[in-house]
Symmetry: C2
Subunit: 281 residues, 2 copies
């Protein structure tokens, strides 16, 4: 499918992707670069890694696919750094959880270069981070959103779509802005609610946690995610995230009002609506 | 431990309890009653059930432990109904998720009767309901809260504590009011947040659900719980639930404000606090 794939930033997502590429035979060579020397040393011993480079600009030379797998705030700076090393026909993509800022800025970074950038968001991962938790089936059966800008070339979209499809994902295509609106609701809002619930409970009596059941544990699992990564995601998508919070606040206000007014029908209608949605998920 | 245990309302909790009693040999006889004739017919074929009665007042005759396992709003009416059938030394308990109302009213129902009532809340279960999902290890290693009133006899507390301990639970004792405050935070609030999130997402574009990942699924699993049961729980504990909602609303407001003010340190401090709490759960 590709001759050489460069994975920049082989953490949980990057290393899992490299494993999947190797396992599915999607490229004869997978090369990598990581910011920290310790991580580069670790890559040397991995079966999914053919060569490790000391700089990202060296690592992209000769690759027809480059995947930026670093935290969202460093994706564009990294693209600036690798620009000069990119092959003329290189396709550059990323795995960032936000898309508007990244895709708009990537377009201007690559202006005048024949390489293409097409944003991607494979919606897989876990609250755990790092190469040591990587697994080749991380992406299997999950959704991957591609976010082409209006003037994206159809063959570039088709090529990248075929790649994520070959990784085992269900690929869809929306604009970067629509992507950010959607994930603000189905991903960023759930994350910050779990985190806020934990932060609120942390301020209560410490012994109460001994009485927590599986319900609380499941509901808050994602609150264990890396705060540095999530801070970047929430900040890059703050407009849509704030809109989602405000929509949620209104809904919660309705439920509170129904409870205060002893409006049984109102309470049950809201619980029914929630159950119907969840049962279809 | 007991000679005969009556389980009234053998749904998920009641039938699981009966199984555990049999498996652990805590009583030679387990008898039951269920409101619906179909359920009574089903009980006849269960290895955990020695006899099924057509009325609750018959089912409690001769039992030294009676466990009320019906939805919270029917626990006290059921106690009124069985009062005349209770043995003089009977110990009556329940598995309801709220305790203040139930324990206060149970006290007045049993006034002048030598049987005792002591409220219990085994914090186990799942979003699934019904006898068909029962399992003998449902309660294992989970918390059970006993909620004696001030004048409860020490030997009654010791006896019921030993029972739930023998079922495999970690037993603690608090007042009914403190119980309701705690579960409003660690159980009822998580439930209604999950349900409200689902209700809010149900009002958005229906195709977005295809892009949901495991994070959303885990966060909202409990929203599949039975709306009728949860309506009763939220209503019986509405004062504490509303207080918990308001505390949460304030915390969410802080996070929203930090995002709006581009206060990175504020955002990360809140995410860190949530992660620290969750990692210790």
């Amino acid at each position: 499918m590709f001759q050489q794939i460069t994975i920049l930033g082989p953490g949980l997502l990057g290393a899992s992707l490299a494993m999947a590429v190797k396992e599915r035979g999607l490229a004869p060579r997978v090369v990598t670069w990581s910011r920290r020397p310790e991580s580069r040393a670790k890559c040397l011993n991995q079966s999914w890694c053919d060569t490790v480079f000391d700089s990202p600009e060296e690592a992209v030379i000769g690759s027809d696919l480059v995947v930026l797998c670093t935290p969202v705030q460093t994706i564009v700076p990294l693209l600036v750094q690798i620009r000069s090393g990119l092959a003329a026909d290189a396709l550059v993509t990323d795995v960032g959880s936000t898309k508007s800022l990244i895709c708009r800025e990537a377009l201007s970074v690559l202006e005048g270069h024949s390489a293409s950038f097409l944003g991607a968001h494979p919606m897989a991962g876990s609250e755990q981070a790092g190469m040591e938790h990587a697994q080749s089936d991380l992406f299997e059966n999950a959704a991957c959103i591609l976010t082409p800008l209006d003037d994206a070339a159809a063959e570039v979209i088709a090529k990248l779509s075929a790649f994520w499809d070959a990784i085992g994902m269900t690929v869809s295509t929306v604009s970067p802005e629509k992507h950010d609106e959607i994930v603000a609701h189905v991903s960023h809002l759930p994350h910050l609610l779990a985190s806020t619930l934990c932060g609120y409970l942390a301020a209560q009596d410490g012994t109460w946690r001994n009485l927590a059941g599986d319900g609380l544990r499941d509901t808050t699992r994602i609150a264990s995610g890396d705060p540095q990564l999530w801070k970047q995601i929430l900040e890059q998508n703050s407009d849509e995230v704030v809109r989602a919070i405000e929509g949620f606040e209104l809904q919660l206000h309705h439920l509170k009002t129904a409870l205060l007014n002893q409006d049984s029908l109102g309470v049950i209608a809201q619980l029914e609506r929630g159950k119907t949605y969840r049962d279809q998920l």
